[in-house]
Every structure is written in structure tokens, then in C-alpha cells.
């Protein structure tokens, strides 16, 4: 190919461009899903298909919430725990919760005391469930996470009444010990999301879909710092190479790239570093 100047500035970029991955940069995908879904044609949404993508892109593991769990948590949550068992070290699980079934939510969260070791976070989707992030039905999840310093990944979107930056600010102030990942970084209200991540030590920018916006990663790194930004992909929606390409080709340092691609996820989720890294 026409030689990318970026490759001349960094051995890491050069290796990713050459091989599509780098052995000493074992990527962690902090925002993945699993299984088929109504709204799109997925060629291979199962575990084997996701692993093919992950292997090509040098993704060590995905932290996933099955689509079925976003519709009906008690049907979908076991799916990803099973996948984690079937593919040790490749999948970790979010416990998805639905605030429109508050009794089940409270019971499921209480059950986290005896959770499977693959469950490393809670997944919320206030937009899909049409329920505000700061609403009382989510409180049992936040309170358990606060008591246990347990990560929460929530879908966030700019100008959304249920999961925009104003809602994130409320829960960030209320639950300062919860590592809170803003899924999609409040897409469309990025300045507010970056400000939240810079202001609250427990709030992080998660890059799914947002990675594409030209220059955004540089802006996040400059204002919030690369220790506050995590890679995610929405796999099987998106090929991880697209998002990784955004990080690799951004005008940031290799240290920043490594923070975003795996170091921050290791720290936030308590994941043992890979031997090669």
C-alpha cells in the first residue's frame, strides 16, 4: 500500500498496519453484545463468529451483553455466562438489567453476591428500556455497585432524556464509587461527556460508535486523558478493526493507544494482564 506516514512514527502503528494486530497489545473490548437481533442482518453473531473477528483483530477478550438479555434479562443473561464457560478467557459477562421489571432487577442484582466469576459488570440501556438512568428502579443496581465498587456500562446518547449527560451527572454524583462507563460517550454531546470524564474520577468514556468521529479521540485524550477512555465495538454489530483503526491512526502516543485498547479495561474490571503485554 501507499506507505502511511503514521507507520513511520510508531512501531505499534506499523505492526497493526502490517498484521492487523500486535502480540504485545492484547485488546480488550469493553462493550460487546452476542447473538442475533431483529434490526440488522448479522452474518455470524454467535460465539464462534465473534471469535473469528476477535482473533483477526487481536482482541484478547470481550465483555458482552447478549441482545436477548437486553430484551429479557433472565432469558439472555445465562447465554453469555455459558459462552464464557465454553471459551475461557475470551468472554466476560455483563449482567443486563431491565428497570421496567423492578422486582426481577432487584432480585437479579441481589444474586450478584453469588455470581458466576465471568460476570464483571452491570449493563444498562436506558434508551432501549425508555427509563431514565437516575430513576428509582435502577437504584438497587447502583447501590449494589456502589457497595462493591462494581463497574456499570450504560448506553448513553446525546440529547437523550433517559441517558444524556444530565442523567450521567446525577448518578456520577450519587454513586462516586461506581466505575461508570458512558457507552458511546453520550454520542452527539461529546464535549459534555468529556467534561464529565474529566470531572468525575469514576466516570469513563467508552468509544463504541463514537470512535469514528474525526479528531474525537485526540480531543478526549487531550482533555480527559487517555486513562479515562476505553475501547468497545458493539460486536457483532461492528468489525473491531474499524474502531481499532480509529485508535491506531489517531494522532496520539503509543502509551495513549495502549491505555485505550487494554490497560484501562484491565484496571477497571480487575482483569489480569496478558502474559505477552
Amino acid at each position: 500500500m501507499t506507505c502511511a506516514q503514521a507507520a513511520k512514527t510508531s512501531p505499534l502503528v506499523n505492526e497493526f498496519l502490517r498484521a492487523g494486530k500486535a502480540a504485545d497489545c492484547p485488546v480488550i473490548d469493553a462493550h460487546a453484545h452476542y447473538g442475533p437481533y431483529q434490526g440488522v442482518y448479522f452474518p455470524k453473531p454467535d460465539g464462534a463468529g465473534m471469535l473469528e473477528v476477535m482473533d483477526r483483530a487481536g482482541v484478547r477478550l470481550c465483555i458482552s451483553a447478549p441482545h436477548a438479555a437486553l430484551v429479557e434479562p433472565r432469558r439472555g443473561n445465562p447465554v453469555i455466562v455459558e459462552a464464557a464457560r465454553a471459551h475461557p478467557g475470551r468472554f466476560l459477562a455483563y449482567l443486563s438489567v431491565n428497570p421496567n421489571y423492578p422486582r426481577e432487577l432487584a432480585e437479579d442484582v441481589a444474586g450478584l453476591d453469588q455470581r458466576d466469576s465471568s460476570i464483571v459488570g452491570i449493563k444498562m440501556h436506558p434508551g432501549w428500556h425508555e427509563y431514565p438512568l437516575s430513576g428509582p428502579n435502577y437504584a438497587p443496581a447502583f447501590e449494589w455497585a456502589q457497595a462493591n465498587r462494581f463497574p456499570i456500562l450504560s448506553h448513553t446518547w446525546g440529547h437523550s432524556p433517559t441517558c444524556g449527560p444530565q442523567e450521567v451527572r446525577k448518578v456520577a454524583e450519587r454513586y462516586p464509587d461506581v466505575p461508570f462507563l458512558m457507552g458511546h460517550s453520550c454520542f452527539g454531546e461529546f464535549e459534555e461527556a468529556i467534561h464529565l470524564a474529566a470531572t468525575f474520577p469514576n466516570v469513563y468514556l467508552e468509544l463504541t460508535a463514537a470512535y469514528r468521529v474525526s479528531g474525537l479521540i485526540e480531543r478526549m485524550v487531550a482533555i480527559a486523558g487517555s486513562t479515562k477512555v476505553l475501547f468497545g465495538s458493539d460486536l457483532p454489530w461492528f468489525d473491531e478493526h474499524f474502531g481499532i483503526g480509529c485508535i491506531i491512526m489517531s494522532h496520539i502516543s503509543d502509551d495513549d493507544r495502549r491505555n485505550i485498547l487494554y490497560r484501562n479495561a484491565e484496571r477497571v474490571f480487575g482483569i489480569e494482564p496478558a502474559k505477552d503485554a
Binding site: M1, T2, A7, G39, V213, S214, L216, H241, F242, G245
Partner: protein, 253 residues
């Protein structure tokens, strides 16, 4: 791999992303950073200001820069702002412009037979690619419905559906690929997992055109995605630039 970007623009849009290319020199620098060899370009002025003035300006901006290939934005000929079918071929030949864009809703016209009949028949004869953004609309038609309506009326037109969004579009574009041999689409935000392989194994790579989407999109995203797609190298070469080079070579000016 020789990347030839079919969807990129320079200039200062009214609402910029964080990283733009205000000038042609800035655009070339970004292309160098990402290893993009050539590009079919428009300007922010063409997209957001007066296309008539901007269609002339882009020729001056790109003069002497062989890596950049200017395009024009079309308007209805009835107002005298854009050449009618009688003069269009000569104007394109003189300017060496081999691709056109249409923004019907932004420029407030109907992209239909009443307004553009003879022009679109001419473009079909000349095999000049017409890029239409999937974010645009014309009367009751928008997005893929607009592509479908235009192709139904002008099935020989070399139509490129541009700017597809990231949420898997195969259910929309595959029927058009099957029915219209001159239908193409750019890969803009095409990032479906297994998307390249699943599509190309069934249809081949010939209808896909590489597009970075810069400055809306990080220029390295689709380059990196295609570079490491799990398809044959010659298919990647075709999508990266071969298909666009072939299309431009087929233009009969």
C-alpha cells in the same frame, strides 16, 4: 494496496468535526498520514455554500495536484445555473470532471424525470458516476427509497449510493445490486462484522467503492478495516481503488 478515496472533502463546514482539512494541502497531509494515494473530492463550499461558485473554485484548488480528482455538484439546468444536456458533456470534458454529486434536498429540487430526464439519460450514456448521499431526500423519497426510485426510472445510470450509516445496510442494498448492473455503493460506515466476506462471497467486490468519509469520519477507520478484512487480496485491491479507477476509465467524454 493503492487506496483511492471516493468520498472526502476539504474546506470548513459550518459545523466541523474535531479534525478537518481546511485546505487542499491539509487534505493531502491527512491522506499521507493514512496512506491514501488518491481521492475523488468535493469541497465544503460545494456542499454547504453556492455550488455554482464552488464548482469553479474546486478546479482551481486542485489544479496541479494529480492525486486529487475534483467533482461537480449538479443543479437543475432550467435556472441556468448548471449546463443543460446539450452543453454538459463539453463542460465535463473541458474540466476533466468525471464524477458528479447530487444533493436534492439541500439544494431544493426534485431529482426526477421532470427536472433531470435528459440530463440523467445523458449521464447514463456517458457512464458518468452520479453520487447521491443516503442522508438526502427528493420529495417523498429519502435514503435507499430514493436510490430505488431513481434506478427504477434510470436503470442504466451509474449511481453510487454514498454515506451509508453503520447499522448494517445489506437488507437495503443487496436487492439493488441484484437488479441494477450500474449500481454501486461506497463503504463509508460499512463496518458490519464479517460484512466484507459475507457480501463479497455472494456478489463479488465489484460494486463496492472505498470511502473514508473524512472529515466526518476518522480517515484511518475504513482503510484499516478493509486492509485487514478476511477476503482475497485482489478483492481488497478492487474495493480500495480498482473499481473506482475502472469506473472513471469507462466515462465517455
Amino acid at each position: 494496496m493503492e487506496f483511492f478515496d471516493c468520498n472526502v472533502y476539504y474546506g470548513k463546514p459550518p459545523v466541523p468535526t474535531y479534525r478537518i482539512a481546511p485546505t487542499v494541502a491539509d487534505l493531502l497531509a491527512e491522506m499521507d498520514w493514512n496512506g491514501i494515494g488518491e481521492a475523488l473530492v468535493t469541497s465544503a463550499q460545494q456542499r454547504y455554500d453556492d455550488p455554482v461558485t464552488a464548482n469553479s473554485q474546486i478546479l482551481r484548488d486542485c489544479a496541479g495536484e494529480p492525486r486529487l480528482h475534483p467533482t461537480w455538484v449538479i443543479l437543475p439546468c432550467q435556472t441556468g445555473e448548471f449546463p443543460g444536456p446539450d452543453a454538459l458533456a463539453t463542460a465535463l470534458r473541458q474540466a476533466q470532471v468525471k464524477a458528479l454529486w447530487a444533493f436534492p434536498s439541500r439544494n431544493k429540487y426534485l431529482l426526477d424525470r421532470n427536472t433531470f430526464g435528459p440530463t440523467l439519460e445523458l449521464l447514463s450514456d456517458l457512464q458518468v458516476p452520479l453520487f447521491i448521499s443516503l442522508t438526502d431526500s427528493s420529495g417523498p423519497y429519502s435514503g435507499w427509497a430514493l436510490m430505488s426510485a431513481i434506478l427504477a426510472d434510470f436503470p442504466r445510470l451509474t449511481l453510487v449510493a454514498a454515506d451509508q450509516d453503520c447499522w448494517g445496510q445489506d437488507r437495503f442494498f443487496r436487492p439493488l445490486v441484484e437488479k441494477y448492473p450500474r449500481f454501486y455503493f461506497d463503504v463509508y460506515e460499512f463496518e458490519l462484522a464479517h460484512g466484507y466476506k459475507d457480501y463479497c462471497d455472494k456478489y463479488g467486490p465489484d460494486r463496492m467503492l472505498f470511502a473514508s468519509g473524512f472529515p466526518g469520519i476518522n480517515m484511518g477507520a475504513q482503510m484499516f478495516n478493509l486492509l485487514h478484512a478476511d477476503i482475497r487480496e485482489d478483492w481488497k485491491e478492487a474495493i480500495a481503488g480498482g473499481n473506482l479507477r475502472r469506473l472513471l476509465a469507462e466515462v465517455k467524454l
